[in-house]
């Protein structure tokens, strides 16, 4: 599903590499936590998979795409097979919940009756069936994050990338979001999640990949956040 081979990334404006000789393989259907201190390269890792950045060295494979070398115009195809969720939700403030989700389908040219069928389904999955006509600001943070997840998942992508999806949420709401991601993972979707939240990592006991200064320093099949803590 995902394969990084000796990947390094040095940003132009920065001296120290953000990632250094990282090799990681993630199989289909896995649930992986990506942890590490601030600036350890978690977001960079995810951005490489989305081809928001290209690696300075090494190779990145996602599904059947050779991400680092593919032609620019094929990038949209890659992204259509990946769903993304971010800490700050990234919803369109002037569109309703349903429109926000539908947007992801409109943009890739799905026919209108497919959209009308699929959107309510996915809103039901994330538990927002009654709130499809609300605007984002009329929702709590947790609900907004569900909308973001619905939008990422409405296209039934092969994998879901989440960059600190619970960073702005309180512990209870975070638990709800984690349950939702687990449910999505059970449908066979690979989930890769970067986080700081050790209580979540500790309670889920899933695979943990830890980065430190851009290098993989740990890769446990059923890990916890901090060993020495």
């Amino acid at each position: 599903m995902i394969r990084l081979e000796h990947v390094s990334k040095v940003y132009k404006t920065s001296t120290r590499p953000a990632l250094e000789d990282v090799s990681v393989v993630v199989d289909k259907g896995e649930f992986v936590f990506l942890i590490g201190a601030s600036g350890s390269g978690k977001s960079t890792f995810l951005r490489l998979l989305l081809r928001e950045e290209v690696p300075s060295r090494g190779r990145v494979y996602v599904a059947n795409f050779d991400v680092a070398r593919m032609a620019r115009r094929r990038v949209p195809r890659l992204r259509q097979s990946i769903g993304c969720v971010f800490q700050d939700f990234r919803l369109l403030n002037n569109k309703t919940v349903a429109e926000n989700v539908a947007f992801a389908l409109e943009v890739i040219g799905k026919p209108r009756n497919t959209i009308r069928k699929v959107v309510p389904e996915v809103l039901e999955l994330v538990g927002l069936e009654g709130k499809s006509a609300r605007m984002p600001h009329e929702l709590s943070g947790g609900e907004q994050q569900r909308v973001a997840i619905a939008r990422a998942f409405v296209n039934r992508p092969l994998m879901l990338l989440a960059d600190e999806p619970t960073g702005n949420l309180d512990p209870d709401t975070s638990q709800d979001i984690m349950l939702l991601l687990e449910r999505i993972n059970r449908t066979g979707t690979t989930v890769l999640m970067a986080t700081h939240d050790h209580s979540i990592v500790d309670s889920m006991r899933r695979r943990v990949v830890e980065l430190d200064l851009g290098q993989v320093v740990r890769d446990d099949a059923r890990g916890v956040y901090g060993v020495g803590r």
């Binding site: 989305l50 115009r73 949209p76 195809r77 890659l78 992204r79 259509q80 097979s81 993304c84 990234r90 369109l92 947007f103 992801a104 409109e106 943009v107 890739i108 040219g109 209108r112 939008r151 990422a152 296209n155």
Partner: protein, 300 residues
């Protein structure tokens, strides 16, 4: 890509920044109006030039004696001169105009200036031969040959007068084009800027679109269309202004001059001929500017 979706995005974009859109349309409009005005002046010059060049290059004015007494150019001096002119290989055509005909023409030209008519009595105007030359560029040869010939009072090279007239027109045309050019630069910068501002104010949306896998065309087409729509509206308004300018300015102020035939008038057909060029220029420039701006300044 669904057209209705793109269309609604374009409208949203134009409405989001109304002041900018209006400024862009106005500037484009003025630029194109001036460009169109310049083109119309060029057409007017061309047409006037064509009329004059068809008609005559050099006038040979006859002496007072002939002018007064030989109305049909039948007496010896005049007939000899005509024969000599007609057999000259450098001259293509010869027309005789007697004093009465000259007066009629003079009255037509100065219809709008009655004081001129009062100054000039019929017996002041000479009869003349109007010559069309084989080689209109070299009237001075004719001038030299026939000045001082029997019965000739003076040889007038009309192209001199035309040159002065046309140099005034060319001045007007150049001024118009100069302002149009500066305006065009302003319009270009505005288009480029509008596209940049549009892209900037909607970068959140565009980012989200791109993350869910929208193609570059899909995200950028609305900005391009915005520029083109504004350019189109500007061009249509410019054409409207040209028509209004013709009706309310040219036809009233210069009506007399047109009627006299000194200048060929600008008519609806001329505007009709210039219009598609204005539209094409506007659409072309706004599309190209928009596209280049998107490629160069808007990070994808």
């Amino acid at each position: 890509m669904r057209a209705s979706f793109v269309f609604s995005e374009v409208l949203t974009g134009l409405r989001r920044n109304v002041t900018m859109t209006v400024a862009m349309i106005l500037t484009t409009m003025i630029s194109l109006t001036l460009l169109g005005g310049g083109l119309l002046v060029v057409r007017m010059i061309d047409k006037t030039q064509a009329v004059y060049q068809e008609e005559v290059d050099v006038n040979v004015n006859l002496t007072k004696d002939i002018s007064a007494n030989d109305k049909e150019c039948t007496q010896d001096t005049c007939a000899d001169l005509r024969e000599r002119l007609e057999s000259d290989p450098a001259i293509e055509a010869v027309t005789f105009e007697n004093r009465d005909q000259a007066l009629v023409r003079f009255k037509q030209i100065f219809e709008a200036q009655p004081e001129m008519l009062k100054l000039v009595r019929a017996d002041a105007l000479p009869a003349s031969f109007h010559l069309r030359l084989v080689n209109p560029d070299r009237p001075e040869v004719i001038s030299q040959t026939y000045s001082g010939a029997v019965g000739v009072d003076s040889v007038v090279d009309e192209s001199e007068f035309l040159e002065r007239l046309f140099s005034a027109f060319n001045g007007v045309r150049n001024l118009t084009f100069a302002i149009a050019l500066i305006q065009a630069v302003a319009a270009l910068l505005l288009i480029s800027n509008t596209v940049q501002v549009s892209a900037f104010t909607r970068r959140t949306e565009v980012n989200i679109m791109r993350l869910v896998g929208a193609t570059r065309w899909y995200t950028q087409l609305p900005f391009l269309l915005e520029a083109v729509v504004a350019g189109l509206v500007g061009a249509v308004l410019a054409i409207g202004l040209l028509v209004a300018g013709k009706v309310w300015f040219l036809d009233t102020v210069l009506g007399g001059v047109f009627a006299s035939g000194v200048l060929s008038p600008i008519d609806g057909l001329d505007i009709l001929l210039v219009s598609p060029w204005l539209l094409l220029t506007s659409i072309g420039i706004s599309a190209v500017t928009g596209y280049v701006t998107l490629r160069l300044y808007v990070r994808q």
